[in-house]
Structure formats: structure tokens, C-alpha cells
Amino acid sequence: MYRRWLWPASALPGVLWLVLLFVVPFYAVLAVALGTVDPILFQPDPIWNPLEWNVGWLNEVLSRLAPGGIWFEVGVRTIVYVVIALALSLLIGYPVAYFTARHAGRWKGLILILIILPLWISYMMRMLAWVNLLQEDGWVNEFLMFTQVLSEPQDWLGGNHLTVILALVYGYIPFLILPLFAALDRIDRSHLEAARDLGASPWSAFRRVTLPLSKTGILGGAVLITLPMFGDYYTPNIVSGAPSTSMIGNQIDLYFHGGPQPTIGAALTIVLAAFLTILMLYYMRTIHRAQREAGTVGAL
């Protein structure tokens, strides 16, 4: 009896953590989004009973996000930014993770430390440092002009889409590299040797063995960076400040920062969370399938 409960009980701290820091706050946001507003203080007046929920704010948010709505373009822009930033992150991050896992040898630890090192400094400070570097007379322009890539200084901070996307890549890429590295490092080299013995070229072995086996790492890293990117608002604020480069997170920020409609901010948060849940479900389904296939291979 004692043994029967011992191992399940070890999950209790994790379950408590999940309930206290995720389920309860999420329910609170839901209660705010589907609640009302105090007419004097403009404080959210949450409705805790689901039977009394008011879906008016949610409908309002959905209509704003629909084609023709005032947030349609900013919604599309956010998705485009995140997709490009993710693609660039993979293009940069995968080779780094691959090299570190396969070829770094005794330098592996040092490279991992170097990847993590920027995270020791706050995100905000790192972005502010880039603001200095990207000034018209900053080092980035000086370097690009010295190397004759540019003939005159580029206005990187004048409301530039590319700057916001690159800033997102810079800010989040370590969170992609680490799970990717873990996945690549776990791949049994005998699989690759078997592929080569069977006549596969290095590229073919990578494409048919390494890449599929690192799929969970790619997806895990992708989920880790896309979730915060979708809600990001300070990156476009710091490196651009132009409405033409704003993201959906800026709208959440606007409605939560005072004014009579905090419920709009909460409802937008819920809609964004629902959208991200779809991505999460795809990730979980893929992981589940990969684990099942691994189990099958193991059984064979």
C-alpha cells in the first residue's frame, strides 16, 4: 500500500506548482476576461462562476482580430514576425547545436556556457545595449561601412521590420539551441554508422537519420521560443517604437496599462493562449508519436 502511493506522491510538488502558478492564475485571467469592470476604478471585476460568464469582451476581441477588424493587420504582422524569427533561429541555431553536440569535443562545455552567458544579463539590458550598437553612428553601421556592405549608415531604429525580427531572434535563440543540443547529443551514433554502412552519403544520413531523430528537439525549442515571442511587446518598443512594427502584445500592454477596459486585455490574452494551445497540441502529439515509435524500435 505504502509503495503504491510513494511514486505517485512524488509528483505532488509538481502538481501543486502547476495548480498554484498556472491553473489558478489562468482561471483568474479567464474570470477577468469574461467578467465586468468596476465603473469607478476601472478595476476588473472577475466573475468566478462559469454559469455567469459574459462573453461580450471575447466576441469584441475576436471581431477586432477578424479580417477587416482593427487588429487584423497587427495579428498577421505578429505571426509573420514570429514565423520568420523562428526560421532564422533554426537556420542559425541548428548548426550551432549540431556542431556543439557532434564536433565540439572537449570544448562542448565552454560553448554551452557561452550560449547561456547572455542570459545572465537581463533581457531589457541586452536590448538596450543593441539600441546603442544600432544607432546611426553606432558600431554596427561603422562595421558594415568599413566592410563596404553599406555605403551610408542604415537607420536600424527608425521603425524597421528587420530590426524587430533580428532582435527577437537574438533575444530568444539560446532557448532554441539548448533543447536542440540535448536532442542531438542523445542520438546514438550507431544509427549514423549503420546508415553510412548501408551506403548513405553524409547528407543523406543527416536528412534520413539525424534530422528525424532531432525532431523533438526542434519542436521543443520552437515551442519554447514562439510562445514568448507571440506575447512580446517590449522588443518592438525598444528597438523600434513605430506602430508599423507593433505586435499583438503591445495591444495587451495598452489595455492592461490603465483605462476603462482591462477586460479587453484579458480577453485578448485568452484568445492568444487558445491560439498557442493549438501549437502546443501539435507539439505534444508529435512527441507522443516519436516516443511511441522509439518504443517500437526498442522492442524490435
Binding site: D38, E73, V74, L157, G159, P243, Q251, L254
Partner: protein, 427 residues
């Protein structure tokens, strides 16, 4: 979890106050007698056709309002509290730390500053019980929330003699807070246009409609900014079209103003931020909507060595056509040091303290009788060409343009309009 204000210990008295004085469904015409029932008076008309938070009348420069006291002020002649901390709830870096320390030393308290991002979010934090400051900064257009929500305390002016002694008559008994029942003024400013004279070739001040400069700024793309405040941006677009009712709640006018602002995406890829006091002097922004204090602060602190003061330009519309405002200070209901809080309000109105805070720190002018533009220029505090950054008592008169409290629907209208502008269109 949000701690709803209705759950606060004093909720009963607040509810009674609202029932007596200002229920949401009460018609405007009834506001006067109802407020009188609270032991208050409204000395003039009750606003421009609507109610603010808690049914309080909407104050306008030509429609003075005396707010109801929701409790009696503290008695006169009490000794100030000492020991512990004294918390100022304010924008970060908006009060000279040295002066706060001197106040703390004088009364044996440690003065700490709890910052907020903006006054609306500050009031929400205060209402939620997330902070418990002694005094806070507040603006005339948010004052109704503070009073109706019982977040700020009525004042006993016996403790604040500097108000009568040192402050402009317009603000001793201001239109938004008749008899200064809740607030004392802190700084005042006008909204205008700041620019780099070495980058912008147009004669902005000489233009028929200087606000048009933003719509004619193709050559300065990426270097043009507006204030990130919904009232200021939309209000500016209204003024550009000659609409001086900057408190309008007409959806057609507000939506047209937003539509006009959206033209700026393609014209100059306009930015929105409140960093003009730094970015214009440093040259990363060449043209920016700005408050008058920004260029004074910029001249004092941010102008790089070798850049002459003449590189900074500022324009504001003539008296009665430029938006002007003043910030205030109030005593918070959460204070455990009400007497000391009153003395702090008196301290910040001291001639020496207010002047030092202005000249040596924030660049925003206090409404002191002893400050006049000519003297500031003579003393070298303000360069001659920025003399128009300095306001006088007359600038805040009954014919001035001031952003006032809007009805709840009006606030939604302006916030949604700003959201539409901030969304950035389909670029």
C-alpha cells in the same frame, strides 16, 4: 488574484458615499443636489453633458467643480508623525532625490519612491491594495477616480500655507478641484512641437498650422515621433483640423482624428514614445510632439557637448489654443502619516524646493509666483529661444485648453481609437 475594491474594509462607507452622491445611473442634473448631500457644493455648471467616475461632474476650465469630501480632513495643529518610511508614489525620476532625502532628514523618516508607469495604472494598483503610499502624483483628468474611489484624502490646508503664499492664483483654487480640497499643483506644461533646428528645414513656428509639420515630414522618415498618450495624440490631430474641443466624445471626430494619425505611417513611419526630452537633444529624433518641460530638461541634461542650445526648437500654440496641463500631488488614503503627508505637500510648494527641483532636476516648471519667463532667461536657466517653454498664470485661465476627465464611454472611445492607431495598419 485581483483584490476587488468592493472587498476593501472601507467598502461600506464608499458605497454609502456613492449612493448619496453619485450613483452611476444618476442623471447629471441631479448631481448638484446629490453632491450637496455629501456636504459639498458645485459652484458652477457640472460639466459638458456627462458624468465622470462615480457620477462626479466633469470639470472644464470654464466649468469649475468643487468635489465632495468623502471624509473630514485631519484636524489642525497635530504634530507630524516620525520614524519609519514615507512613500511617494510617482513617476520614476520625477522628483529630485536630494530634496526627498532632505525632507526625510528633517522629519526623521526614510523617504522611498514607489514608481508607476502612468497615473491610471498607479490608481489601479492603489485600488487593488498592491501599494500603500503616503502621497501620490495625480492629474486633473484622473482626480475623479481618486475621489470617487476614496483613494485620496481630503486636505486640511492649514498645513499647506505655501499654497496660498507661493502658487499662481489660477491653481490655488483650480477649476478641477475647487477650494483645493484634494490636491496641490506640482508642475505645469504645454504640449507643442520640439525639433532639431539643424535637421528640420521648415519654419515650423511660421507655418499657418504648425501641427501640419508631422504630415509634411516625408524627408524625416524614422526620425519623427508622437507622445505615447492617447489624449495627446488624438487631441493633436483634432487641433490640427481646428477642433478645439479636445474633450470631445463625438465618435465621428475621434475616428477622423485617428484616421488622420494613421496617414503618418506612410508619411514618416511615425514612432510613439515619451523619450523626446532625451532623443531630440541627442539627435536620434528630429521632430517630436513634446511637453514644454522636455526641451528645458533636454537643454539642461541631454544636449551633447559641442551641440549649441540653438539646436533645440520648441513651438506651442498661442494662449488659449495650446493644450496645457498641470500635475498635482495628493495624500493617499493608505497613509499612516497623514500630518506628515500634508507637510510634504507644503514642502514641495516651498519656493526654494520647487525651484531647485525644476532647475536642478526635472525641468518641469512649478507654478510659482516668483518664476517668470524673463527672469529665467536672464538667469540663464532657459535659453532665450526656448522662453516660450515657460508658462504663466494666464496660460491656465478659463479660456485654456485642458484635457479633462471623460465619461466612461468617452474613455473607451479614445482608448479604442488609440489602439487602432497603435495597431500600425497594414504595412
Amino acid at each position: 488574484m485581483t483584490h476587488h475594491p468592493k472587498e476593501r474594509p472601507n467598502s461600506l462607507s464608499r458605497r454609502v458615499f456613492l449612493q448619496r452622491g453619485a450613483g452611476a445611473a444618476v442623471a447629471l442634473s441631479a448631481a448638484g443636489p446629490l453632491l450637496a448631500a455629501c456636504g459639498s457644493t458645485t459652484s458652477e455648471s457640472t460639466g459638458s453633458g456627462g458624468e465622470g467616475p462615480g457620477g462626479l461632474p466633469l470639470a472644464r476650465p470654464d466649468k469649475r467643480v468643487t468635489l465632495p469630501r468623502w471624509e473630514d480632513p485631519i484636524e489642525s495643529g497635530l504634530e507630524p508623525e516620525t520614524g519609519g518610511t514615507f512613500t511617494v508614489f510617482n513617476y520614476p525620476a520625477y522628483f529630485y532625490r536630494k530634496l526627498l532625502n532632505e525632507f526625510g532628514d528633517k522629519y526623521g523618516v526614510e523617504v522611498q519612491v514607489t514608481p508607476f508607469d502612468n497615473i491610471n495604472s498607479g490608481l489601479q494598483r492603489l485600488a487593488s491594495g498592491g501599494v500603500a503610499p503616503d502621497v501620490m502624483e495625480i492629474t486633473p483628468d484622473t482626480l475623479d477616480i481618486g475621489v470617487a474611489g476614496e483613494l485620496i484624502k481630503p486636505l486640511n490646508l492649514d498645513y499647506i500655507p505655501n499654497l496660498q503664499k507661493n502658487i499662481w492664483p489660477q491653481l490655488v483654487d483650480p477649476f478641477y478641484d475647487g477650494e483645493s480640497r484634494y490636491t496641490v499643483p506640482y508642475t505645469c506644461y504645454a504640449t507643442g512641437v520640439a525639433w532639431r533646428t539643424d535637421k528640420i528645414t521648415e519654419d515650423i513656428a511660421g507655418m499657418d498650422q504648425p501641427w501640419d509639420i508631422f504630415w509634411e515630414s516625408q524627408a524625416y522618415e524614422g526620425k519623427v515621433g508622437l507622445l505615447s498618450e492617447n489624449r495627446e495624440t488624438i487631441g493633436m490631430a483634432l487641433l490640427r483640423k481646428g477642433i478645439t474641443d479636445i474633450n470631445t466624445e463625438d465618435p465621428e471626430l475621434v475616428n477622423q482624428a485617428v484616421s488622420d494619425l494613421q496617414e503618418l505611417y506612410d508619411i514618416c513611419n511615425v514612432k510613439v514614445d515619451d523619450l523626446q526630452y532625451q532623443t531630440v537633444p541627442e539627435g536620434s529624433s528630429w521632430l517630436h510632439q513634446a511637453w514644454s518641460g522636455d526641451m528645458i530638461a533636454g537643454y539642461i541634461y541631454y544636449l551633447p557637448k559641442g551641440t549649441p542650445a540653438s539646436a533645440l526648437g520648441f513651438w506651442r500654440a498661442p494662449h488659449g489654443k495650446a493644450p496645457v496641463q498641470n500635475d498635482c500631488f495628493a495624500v493617499c488614503s493608505t497613509t499612516k502619516k497623514p500630518v506628515l503627508s500634508h507637510l510634504f505637500l507644503n514642502y514641495l510648494l516651498d519656493n526654494g524646493v520647487a525651484y531647485e527641483n525644476f532647475v536642478d532636476f526635472n525641468g518641469y516648471q512649478p507654478p510659482l509666483n516668483e518664476i517668470d519667463p524673463g527672469t529665467l532667461v536672464q538667469e540663464g536657466v532657459v535659453p532665450e529661444h526656448l522662453e516660450n517653454s515657460v508658462l504663466t498664470n494666464d496660460d491656465l485661465g478659463p479660456d485654456s485648453l485642458q484635457y479633462g476627465t471623460l465619461t466612461s464611454q468617452g474613455q473607451q472611445l479614445w482608448q479604442d481609437g488609440y489602439s487602432n492607431f497603435l495597431a500600425g495598419g497594414g504595412s
